[in-house]
Symmetry: C2
Subunit: 174 residues, 2 copies
């Protein structure tokens, strides 16, 4: 593969089918790292990163070529990002292929993570604690006290965490 780039070249000239520019690489790296934190595979970070770095809309085959990912990964990654609302399809007159751009509302990632991962887990956690508190009733009195203290502590903590989520969402949105 050709990785050369004429010396004086300013970015944007070597794009399209060429290799990634330094700026693109930085952006991709950044989003790989962030999206991985909320459980997304590398390929999704790459896709969003490249779309974020690029002003003009990009078609799937360009993502495949420039990122060197498979069509499967590109298709699934785009689907996921579209479902999140993090990527939009752009209409380009006379273009056969679909073209994509990054939606810049970054809070979306945090929000989705909170709503779909964190909050449900806290809720299920709280249910569980209640169930545990019931189970505790059948314990010998000797153990009841210490155990129920722990459960109360755990419940308080889960409740507090859950209270916090809407704030965080709000704060990040504005």
């Amino acid at each position: 593969m050709i990785t050369l780039q004429a010396k004086g070249d300013k970015p944007s000239s070597a794009e399209k089918l060429g290799d990634l520019t330094p700026l693109e690489i930085e952006a991709i790296d950044l989003f790989i790292s962030f999206l991985r934190m909320i459980g997304m595979p590398k390929s999704v970070g790459e896709i969003y990163g490249l779309l974020f770095a690029s002003t003009r809309p990009i078609a799937m085959d360009e993502l495949i070529n420039r990122l060197h990912i498979s069509s499967g990964a590109a298709s699934q990654g785009l689907k996921l990002l579209r479902e999140l609302g993090a990527v939009k399809t752009v209409y380009i007159p006379g273009a056969r292929k679909d073209h994509y751009t990054a939606d810049l509302e970054l809070s979306r990632f945090a929000t989705v993570f909170i709503k779909e991962e964190l909050h449900p887990r806290l809720s299920r956690g709280l249910e569980r604690v209640r169930r545990m508190e019931e189970l505790l009733a059948e314990f010998p009195a000797s153990e009841q006290k210490a155990a129920s203290e722990r459960l109360t502590k755990l419940r308080h903590w889960l409740e507090k965490g859950d209270t916090m989520l809407p704030w965080i969402i709000e704060f990040l949105k504005t």
Copy 2:
């Protein structure tokens, strides 16, 4: 393996080398789910879950037997939890083996995650954005504006996120 438990038995009788009680199972499940979210393997969740559910200190071989995990997983899991401060060694007069208890300061998990994962990533992200803003200088004026808007937006968002972390830590602690 024996999984029976006489009908009238109240918990705590079948412990030690027996199977897990319903309460323990709930606690373990809960902590597997939570600790997995901050990137810890199942075995660590199991260990902390069992220690949390148990009032009395537990030795490593009991963890191994009751959770059916290997000595390696037990040793490494305990090491990690000790390093986090989430598990303490308890001195028991005349006991050969080390005994462990769960530290109940649950905010510790969130705090560690924030300080060791989230904050460093935001910092590195900010560095990167600055680097990108420099790279941008070499761009054709036509692309400069749109791109620099994005970077500014990204930078603001990272800064805002990073501001928030100390609050969250504070709030969860109290």
